[in-house]
């Protein structure tokens, strides 16, 4: 069974937000820089609370940051 995945736009959003660093984002969200790195690489799916905090930092809705990709779509990509 193919695994669903959650993609994110954090890297792009950071770039557009005056090239915000991972450390800055981590500080504002209240996690470690390593956690931001893991989320950005898609290796760790954050809790809803952290996901909303990240969206709030960039002042965008949640689905502009994270996108759920069901198994079939991930297979095609």
């Amino acid at each position: 069974m193919a695994k669903a995945s959650i993609s994110n736009q954090i890297r792009r959003l950071r770039f557009e937000a005056d090239e915000m660093t991972q450390a800055d984002l981590a500080k504002r969200v209240g996690v470690t820089r390593q956690t931001v790195l893991a989320i950005e690489k898609g290796k760790y799916s954050p809790s809803l609370e952290v996901a909303f905090k990240i969206a709030a930092v960039f002042d965008v809705p949640l689905d502009a940051v994270f996108r759920y990709e069901p198994a079939e779509n991930s297979k095609k990509n």
Partner: protein, 154 residues
């Protein structure tokens, strides 16, 4: 190297545990096969070694944590750290459980086998060593799991 404070702490704990366990068992295992199995002297020596090992682990960990706190910014950890800790604790529980079951198996096996090694491990002193070994192996497995999860991302 992209290593968090929590990961460095795990490395310190694992290395301290491995180093002290190596010293502890190099002193303790020869005592298992002494003539007086489970004798008072062996148990007293074992108690002394245990106290010394606990003190050594505490000292090594405190010194190690001070050193990593100096070279990297200490942090409380976040939800990912807690998730990793929870998963590694599961591994610790499983390995420790297997160790205890193996120890019980050795005790029961002593009723069926005549080999000196089985009898020695079934004596109180041998049992103590097997239980401590289970604890050490479980702790090292938990640390390795934690490091692997940190390296993998989550």
């Amino acid at each position: 190297m992209n290593t968090s404070f929590q990961e460095k702490r795990t490395w310190i704990s694992m290395l301290a545990t491995a180093a002290v366990a190596t010293w502890f068992f190099s002193q303790s295992i020869p005592l298992i096969f002494l003539e007086e199995l489970g004798g008072r002297e062996a148990l007293r020596a074992f108690t002394g070694l245990s106290v010394a090992a606990v003190v050594m682990i505490i000292v090594l960990q405190v010194v190690g944590h001070i050193l990593i706190a100096v070279i990297s910014k200490p942090g409380d950890g976040d939800e990912r750290d807690r998730l990793i800790s929870m998963r590694s604790d599961q591994v610790l529980g499983i390995v420790l459980g297997l160790g205890v079951i193996s120890t019980v198996g050795h005790i029961l096996a002593a009723g069926f086998f005549e080999q000196p090694s089985v009898l020695a491990l079934a004596a109180p002193f041998g049992i103590l060593n097997m239980l401590v070994a289970s604890l050490v192996i479980a702790e090292i497995c938990a640390c390795m799991t934690r490091i692997w999860l940190y390296r993998r991302g989550a």
